[in-house]
Symmetry: C2
């Protein structure tokens, strides 16, 4: 940098509205990390709150001129360190960009990135419509972050993930150019699939400033099956039996440690003695819902469930889903967490879960496992005491061992959270050097100076 930070920041202030550039250390401290709490987070020279696409363009042009790196940030609820601040860079937050327009005839919403997922759902619901993707953090994660990470959730086993609902994007490129990709057309194959390329690119290729999402008619009421198992293997047997015969609207797994942690926090009468619990849903219409619930309940019983409970009361069913969603904060009460997001082809799910148990024993750390079981996507939560250096070391070894295990089973290091900074060392092991080179070619073509979210993914 040829200018001092101060001179450069003065230029930036002139480009933006008053109060957009924050440098107070007490403020910037809050933007250094996302929920992954990356211990290697840097200290940004400023946090910039964009209000418009033009703001984002100004920031990128300024950043290019001054060689300042830009870490884009939505709500900061990411779990992989994708929004970890870097020394000497800025954090560009889109949290104030919160407009939404719902068009119920075209069945789309045009949304700015700072709106929360739950707010998108609510705006759609006002028109009898539904935006399905539902990360567990849906009440606190932003739609922009969802798009940048291709976020998943609980209903995705039947309804698909974020990329399946994004029809169009506005993206600001590294050089400050704003491009519109796709749009409110349900089918559009004109040119390369650039919309899809930016979804899940974790801020490394551009900054998403507007999202056009597809909406569908409101979800029908759902019925719920809750089954307890005395062994994890029995639960995984039930999972495979269910996914082979139908498409559940939800199929979630909790192991003993996560059941206990949730019960400690919520006191709702979960079976602490169970080694595994499944929460499955059907939202099929009419009598078919009962048929699917019966098939799923029977599959659990046949697999050896110790208790099977069904309800067609949506509120009662939602209480179990809420318990599952609360698992991460509940387990976090036990200590610091390293959050995994490994996924495998469905038939390998039992081997993955059993392998995680062995890793937990080997490294002598608690690993609570929750999973979007119907997708083969698990969240092992490694618990450690940060004041115990040896335990922290063992936790980190377990963190790597679980990703190694997933890769060895033909799986992925991340099903829905993204690579961010915490998992990038394992990405080459999963995808191979040729794919890494291909990735780098695209990164270099779009961000030749490497100012967009440096250190994430690549």
């Amino acid at each position: 940098m040829t200018h001092s930070f101060d001179a450069a920041l003065a230029e930036l202030r002139d480009l933006l509205a008053d109060g957009a550039v924050l440098v107070d250390p007490d403020v910037t401290e809050r933007y250094r990390q996302d929920w992954a709490k990356d211990p290697n987070a840097g200290t940004p020279i400023a946090v910039v709150r964009a209000r418009t696409t033009a703001d984002v363009q100004s920031v990128m042009k300024w950043a290019g001129t001054h060689g300042v790196s830009v870490v884009p940030r939505g709500a900061g609820s990411g779990l992989s360190g994708g929004a970890t601040a870097v020394d000497g860079g800025i954090v560009l937050t889109t949290e104030l960009m919160r407009d939404i327009t719902v068009d119920p005839v075209t069945r789309i919403a045009v949304v700015q990135p700072g709106l929360l997922n739950a707010e998108v759902k609510k705006a759609a619901a006002e028109h009898g419509l539904w935006y399905p993707p539902d990360p567990s953090s849906f009440e606190m994660c932003s739609i922009g972050g969802n798009a940048a990470t291709n976020a998943g959730g609980l209903c995705c086993v039947k309804y698909g993930v974020t990329t399946d609902y994004v029809l169009g994007l506005e993206v600001v490129l590294a050089d400050g150019t704003a491009v519109r990709l796709g749009g409110p057309r349900l089918k559009d194959v004109a040119g390369l699939s650039l919309t899809k390329l930016f979804i899940g690119s974790e801020g490394t290729l551009g900054i998403i400033t507007e999202i056009t999402v597809r909406l569908i008619p409101a979800q029908p009421p759902a019925s719920t099956v809750v089954a307890s198992f005395s062994s994890v293997r029995d639960a995984t047997t039930a999972i495979l039996a269910i996914t082979r015969s139908l498409r559940p609207a939800m199929l979630e797994f909790m192991d003993r440690a996560s059941i206990g942690a949730v019960e400690d926090a919520m006191n709702m009468g979960l079976d602490r003695d169970a080694h595994a619990m499944l929460i499955a849903r059907s939202d099929s219409p009419g009598a078919d819902r009962d048929r699917e619930i019966e098939i799923m309940a029977s599959a659990c019983t046949a697999a050896g469930a110790s208790d099977v409970f069904t309800t067609d009361d949506p509120e009662e069913g939602e209480a179990f889903a809420a318990a599952r969603r609360f698992a991460i904060p509940a387990v976090e009460r036990l200590g610091s967490l390293l959050l995994e997001d490994v996924g495998v082809p469905l038939p390998a799910l039992p081997d993955l879960v059993e392998g995680i148990e062995r890793i937990s024993e080997k490294y002598d750390v608690l690993v609570a496992v929750i999973a979007h079981a119907g997708d083969g996507n698990t969240h092992p939560l490694i618990v450690f005491d940060p004041s115990d250096a040896d335990m922290e070391r063992r936790a980190n070894l377990a963190f790597g061992a679980i990703m190694d295990l997933a890769i060895s089973l033909g799986g992925t290091i991340t099903g829905e959270h993204g690579v961010g900074r915490l998992k990038k060392a394992w990405l080459p092991d999963q995808v191979g050097e040729d794919v890494m080179k291909l990735t780098q070619r695209i990164k270099t073509a779009l961000d030749p100076d490497g100012i967009l979210n440096p250190g994430a993914v690549l």
Copy 2:
């Protein structure tokens, strides 16, 4: 090229199995054009039939060394000239790469590109599973071509398009490197969304040599509504009423000219006096199917349908779907065709269809319109007599005018067929210069010498 064609081809023959390199003009003539019958098709120096991924790698390395361009080709059923041969290049056909493995527990199929879409469906059905995307040409189009164009079809209004079902790809890059992208994981966000980038890239970024597709449980039986209208506007009113309230499993439109052409060919008793016909389906389970059929039938009646017929006999319903699928060959009996694939946001559908009528009158050419109406994706078929030079000129003017109209309505020049060579002049008008530059940057990064399908899309 520093070598003569003959010497270079001799080298190529040495790399591949006997009979893989075809130079007989009677044979190569059949590979000069796809179904778009591009009048500007070149003459290839050879047609190469790959049998393995290694063959494709050998061809690309050879092509790079000799600076020979490569036009990839599936079944040759493309409608945009994406597989038009170029002078001095080769056509690389994957028609002999036809292996498939279905894994019913993981619910995927691993398919080579030459297998036909119908054959993928059949292999899945043997396990009680379903591969939904269903281009009208499903009995003659290849799954590789489907992936390369991100093909759509009739059930896509409810079930999505090709990209929604592709979990992984093997792709041979311009330099002959074979990369594996994605795989049999239902959720996987590790690294950039490269699988999605290659889907719909029309052979300009790489050659798809293997596809991992997601399968879902077999489609439930469907009921069908067929409605006739005395005006196109009434039919489009019904379309919007239907899509606002539910997700039909099919919602197809035929205008008077296409009804007449199909009736001429199939003699099945369609109402030749109708100005528009809708074919709608519900495959909801149980009593909900009757409810959806009733809603759709009522929407047609309320919009002024002159006749509304419903059936829960799958074979009877399929006869109407087959009639719709046969529309392109039926209209082709009236003359040579220029095939459009324009799409618009749903509320603009009436304006698009009425605008096409005006263009037909202005240029004095017959334009038969069929549409995947629930997606806003239409196929105006411009009919001309190739021996009438003035009519051919007017047909070409109408071809451009219809794309101009779609763009002016916020639409796309291609919903599912691809840009190919015939529509590329209009792509910049739709996406703008900045997106064209972005596209070129990616193309250059992946195919710096421009040997992959030159002249297509870009």
